[in-house]
């Protein structure tokens, strides 16, 4: 028989937070929500409070010397989670300003305990706890012992089976603050400002007894409240390759031949080429071919004017619902937010084909703070998408450089399972296009450089130029057979 205590985990009602916490909030834990002003501490507290409080086990929200309660109520009710009917029913506000101003911590503690005894709350919030600390420091009161106060509060709240949150403004994590030691959980909220962009980030610095997701997690505050973008779980494992390998048709028969029979299912494919080389047309035909076979797809577009760049095929697929469009023009995107948008759209449509058009636009859409980690971000995105079993086509703008052979401007070519490269060449005063399959992992593929053109029906792949050499240099020359011997 298992006689160990079971720690219940509470669902916080904040999307993504339970995942970041490592499975919800431990019941009866004593937590600190910390961060600089304006980072969303009070909003986070309210959102959890309205989600968790019940008339039988209400929430007590002690307001101390921070934000005036009238103002807090005024602003918090702008959020969808705020329920006026819950006030004085499952949610009770208690103002302790006068007691705190007197500076006697024992009296503050006595008031809190009296209210807790009277209401048997399941949740207790103290906002802002920082002001309790400051008030105690400014008073010349020898009886004030903050560590002892925190210790007692923590002990009493746990005994009364209340999950407790102290909300406070703390600027440095390195403070040797007694609260940090006593607290079971430390939720740190931050605002990262870089140049003209601001990104909200959350870190679970401590949560006793559970495997939290380490690192900084981005979140947004909208009318529905806080939404945390937890990284997509990656440990589901890739679906093992089935033999014979199933291949997806690209919608361009000759390209399928070049790929060795199509793109193996579950692969990621990078289509790299200069502006105007037809990457988006290739991507659209990939989705259209899927739709013809009854598959659904998702396309993420990162262009400033997505409607203007869409081709007719794609527009009709989106309109008919066979392709889902992820077109987040929200500023300062994070990789986890985009991955989450993509995954929810994939799940909604049960999609098998995904297009990211383009990585260059994607990089621009990211907040500057994430651009330094772009390769890591991209790697995580590709892994997250592949791990749900979809096949991914990514387009990448490739500045034409005829002195070196590169497939992506980010050094990310190794991330994908297959690569198609497109280039312009100059032949007889014409700008022609060539295309080659550079790699298809674990599969034979064609090594030819093929001419292709774009017409109303899409990409038309033509022949090689066997009598020309130096195609990748952009200015091919006529091959002079036999000149070496001659």
């Amino acid at each position: 028989m298992n006689t160990k205590v079971t720690i219940n985990r509470l669902a916080t009602g904040v999307p993504g937070l339970d995942e970041v916490l490592g499975g919800g909030l431990p019941e009866f834990s004593f937590n600190l929500i910390a961060g600089p002003p304006g980072c969303g501490k009070t909003t986070l507290a309210h959102q959890m409070m309205f989600a968790l409080a019940t008339p039988e086990r209400p929430a007590l929200f002690f307001t101390v010397l921070g934000e005036p309660p009238l103002k807090m109520l005024r602003y918090q009710q702008q959020f969808d989670f705020f329920d006026s009917e819950a006030i004085n029913h499952s949610v009770r506000y208690i103002n302790l300003a006068t007691d705190t101003l007197a500076g006697d911590l024992n009296e503050v503690l006595r008031r809190i305990v009296a209210e807790v005894e009277a209401n048997s709350p399941s949740l207790v919030f103290v906002d802002s706890f920082r002001s309790v600390v400051l008030a105690s420091q400014t008073q010349d009161n020898p009886n004030n012992n903050l560590p002892q106060f925190v210790q007692q509060l923590g002990m009493l709240m746990t005994t009364w089976q209340a999950t407790t949150f102290l909300i406070g403004e703390y600027f440095t994590e390195t403070d040797t603050n007694p609260i940090f030691t006593v607290a079971d959980g430390l939720i740190w909220l931050r605002q990262s400002v870089q140049r003209n962009s601001m990104v909200r980030k959350m870190e679970i610095m401590k949560m006793r007894g559970q495997p939290t997701l380490p690192g900084l997690h981005t979140f947004r505050i909208g009318t529905s409240g806080i939404k945390v973008f937890a990284p997509a779980p990656l440990n589901r494992g890739e679906t093992p390759l089935e033999f014979p390998v199933q291949r997806l048709k690209m919608g361009i028969p000759k390209l399928d031949e070049m790929l060795g029979g199509g793109l193996p299912r579950g692969y990621s494919l990078l289509v790299a080429g200069p502006s105007g080389s037809g990457k988006s047309i290739l991507a659209a035909s990939f989705l259209a071919e899927g739709a013809r076979n009854g598959e659904t797809g998702v396309i993420a577009v990162f262009e400033q004017r997505p409607n203007h760049s869409q081709n007719a095929t794609l527009a009709s697929l989106i309109k008919s619902g066979q392709v889902g469009l992820v077109d987040s023009r929200a500023p300062d995107l994070s990789i986890d937010e985009i991955v989450q948008l993509l995954l929810s759209e994939i799940a909604r449509l049960n999609a098998t084909r995904v297009v990211i058009d383009s990585l260059s636009g994607f990089e621009l859409a990211l907040a500057p703070t994430f651009r330094e980690d772009f390769r890591e971000s991209l790697s995580r995105m590709v892994t997250a998408l592949i791990s749900v079993g979809v096949s991914v086509l990514l387009t990448s703008e490739l500045e034409d450089r005829y002195t070196d052979l590169r497939f992506s401007p980010y050094g990310t070519a190794f991330l994908t399972d297959a690569i198609i490269v497109q280039r312009y060449i100059e032949v007889q005063s014409r700008l022609l296009r060539i295309m080659a399959v550079v790699k298809v992992r674990a599969s034979a593929h064609c090594d030819e450089l093929r001419l292709y053109r774009i017409d109303d029906d899409g990409l038309q792949i033509g022949e090689m130029l066997p009598d020309k050499e130096g195609l990748l240099g952009g200015r091919p020359t006529q091959q002079h057979l036999g000149t070496v011997e001659g």
Binding site: P69, R74, I87, A97
Partner: protein
């Protein structure tokens, strides 16, 4: 008029006798209303955006006043209503917050109704609801009741502009409750 408390019938009559320009308060927020002293305050309150709430406030005060109260009784009813509002709000927004709301309501009231009850200065000198009592006792029954209705409405509207109608209604529900429970059911329909 069946079921309408006698105090209100008296008020109607007296209001008709008062003539004058509308007392407008040009609020910075543009949310406050104009009251015409030569029209029934009850009618005017009933036309305000907070129609249901005005009805509740008027009915509750009338109930507390009772059928044949003198100025002292009316003053007591007004003060006790204000004190009940204090009691309901203090745990949530704190003593200082409630005191500030009361003071702000008085200022708004004076902006609207200075000529009706005493001088504006005497009204503004009141720091707490209890201080209003001595001032109100000196007034006629109708003036005192009119003052109470307008002040309570002003207070209510002020809170509404700050925290919205639904939360205001929620927080002050119990203040009007005892009077409503004693009110005959036909009183609840306009």
């Amino acid at each position: 008029m069946a079921g309408i408390p006698a105090a209100l019938i008296r008020l109607n009559t007296i209001n008709k006798a008062i003539s004058g320009k509308p007392h407008a308060h040009s609020s910075r927020h543009g949310l406050l209303k104009v009251y015409y002293p030569n029209q029934s305050i009850r009618k005017q309150l009933a036309m305000s955006a907070l129609k249901e709430e005005s009805r509740q406030i008027v009915a509750s005060l009338a109930q507390r006043v009772g059928p044949d109260a003198d100025s002292a009784g009316i003053a007591q009813a007004i003060v006790s209503t204000l004190q009940d509002m204090d009691t309901a709000l203090t745990p949530i927004i704190g003593q200082q917050g409630v005191a500030a709301l009361f003071r702000r309501s008085l200022h708004l009231y004076v902006g609207r109704q200075a000529c009706l009850v005493g001088s504006g200065d005497r009204v503004l000198a009141c720091q707490a609801p209890a201080a209003l009592k001595s001032l109100l006792i000196e007034q006629s029954e109708a003036d005192a009741l009119f003052f109470g209705e307008v002040l309570l409405m002003t207070y209510y509207e002020l809170l509404t502009t700050l925290i919205g109608p639904s939360l205001t209604a929620r927080l002050l529900r119990d203040v009007w409750k005892p009077s409503l429970s004693d009110t005959p059911s036909q009183e609840n329909s306009p």
